[in-house]
Point group: C2
Chain length 304, copies 2
């Protein structure tokens, strides 16, 4: 397995000013895996309930995502519902039902134990650590987290971070994790905790990356229609990690990392143009290449 992701598979109910969907297949690992599937072989480790039927599995199977690490447990699947503001820049969580995710303890199937690339979705840092302890050290470990764990489990999170190569979080999370309002200083502090690279997600403004060489800022594509931002950050991480997986023969240098981050921005752009995962189901290589070219043109700064 070239790329393994551990995280939530869920039913989402979403309201935006442009429409609504009830109980559609979502969850961070779903968005991540779908975005990554255009570049790499992907396996998912997670848990769903008895209500997660073949029609739901097929959303992931259609993209040839390996689901042998997706456990089916007794009880209901994790459910999330939320509503977005007029300009889509803020959202309110209406309800969260952990369901089978409450007692989830990741077990890595035998065939997954040597992933080249591993992404630890936003779950309890103790569980992230349990995953790391079950696999042979991957070539690159990516990780997401959130304020809930930064505040609630700081020591466990630090233990996990010490084993992570690339941390992908948003700007308020970076500031809180580092206890530092200045992003450049926050990045230096976080890189001192373990991750060689910090990628800061900035929503409609793209992303910024801090690594060993000079920092990198990529814009988000300027889209004339945005329907639903759900899963944009997870699609970003999936596009980025999937692209790294597809270029695994190269050294992971500054140039490759920049292209991977740009590909993350590209995949997030497809996600937000439709509801739920709809925008990630039927893309062609040509559509992805074209949008990558648009992103490159968007940030291009050279002579006439």
């Amino acid at each position: 397995m070239s790329l393994l992701v551990v995280g939530s598979v869920a039913f989402d109910s979403i309201e935006t000013p442009f429409g609504a969907r009830r109980e559609v297949v979502g969850g961070a690992a779903t968005y991540f895996a779908l975005a990554a599937s255009y570049f790499s072989d992907v396996g998912v480790v997670g848990a769903v309930g008895e209500d997660f039927g073949p029609e739901h599995m097929s959303v992931l199977q259609r993209r040839n995502i390996d689901l042998s690490g997706l456990e089916r447990l007794e009880g209901p699947t994790f459910r999330w519902s939320g509503r977005y503001s007029y300009d889509l820049n803020s959202r309110e969580t209406l309800d969260t039902q952990l369901g089978v995710f409450e007692g989830f303890h990741p077990r890595i199937p035998e065939k997954y134990r040597e992933p080249e690339f591993l992404f630890l979705g936003n779950i309890d840092p103790d569980l992230q650590h349990a995953v790391l302890s079950q696999v042979k050290r991957p070539r690159l470990v990516g990780c997401d987290t959130m304020n809930f764990w930064i505040e609630g489990k700081p020591e466990a999170l630090k233990r996990t971070l010490s084993l992570v190569d690339v941390l992908v979080i948003n700007d308020s999370e970076a500031r809180e994790l580092a206890k530092e309002p200045n992003l450049v200083k926050a990045a230096a502090r976080i890189r001192g905790m373990g991750p060689k690279t910090l990628i800061v997600k900035r929503g409609e403004f793209g992303a910024a990356a801090f690594g060993a060489t000079s920092p990198f800022a990529v814009p988000a594509l300027l889209l004339d229609s945005v329907q639903d931002p759900t899963g944009a950050g997870d699609s970003f991480a999936g596009g980025m990690m999937g692209y790294l997986g597809a270029n695994a023969s190269s050294t992971i240098g500054d140039g490759l990392m920049r292209r991977a981050i740009a590909m993350g921005s590209v995949m997030a752009s497809f996600t937000v143009q439709s509801f739920g995962v709809e925008g990630l189901l039927d893309l062609t290589p040509g559509q992805i290449e074209q949008r990558y070219a648009e992103l490159k043109a968007l940030s291009h700064l050279e002579a006439d």
Copy 2:
């Protein structure tokens, strides 16, 4: 005169988490002219009061800014005071005293009547129009405005905008002016009002430009110390227009416009690193070139 700016010259009182200044020379035209002075000959049209002494004039004169269009009127100089939030992303205006600016009616001195480049700072759109009617059509007219005029004088603003080439406003202003939350659609609508180019200022995230060719997004530099954002947008506009003025022999094509916008971002970065205009007073060409190179490296997306 290659570049003329019309706008406010003021005394600012500023509080940020990093310090405070009382009654220092500020105002949009001041920041604009100082930033532009590193590239072009600049003249300022505005008004100050009897309390604006030689020591205040010298702030602008040290950078060889022509002040023959700066009228001295009876009464006090325009005063603004404000306080910034912990992360500098929002500010509260504590007090505004228009002073001599209340009765200000711009009169363009004879020697300024054929500016190659003209920037209409954020003042009453009727006054912006009065300036345009006093000069021979410049090669390029830039313009700023704000929600106060968008809401209060929409018809006068539209008359001015029909004569403007480049409009420089922030994202909430663009959305309000176009009555459209999507920025791409808002830009198309605003370009239909006159400006061939809309530049959207995005604070710590840089700027986006919409013109005849593909859009352009430039990040803001990632700085490890930001002291005071006052005047960042005006310095951006000054750097951009000054750079265009310095390259007036070239056609103003997409490549030149992108470099000018990037230079705007560079000049804004110097402003925010110090209080008030302090960061714009003593720059060397080498410092500006180096920061431009840093900005280019920040957004560079190419092969290894």
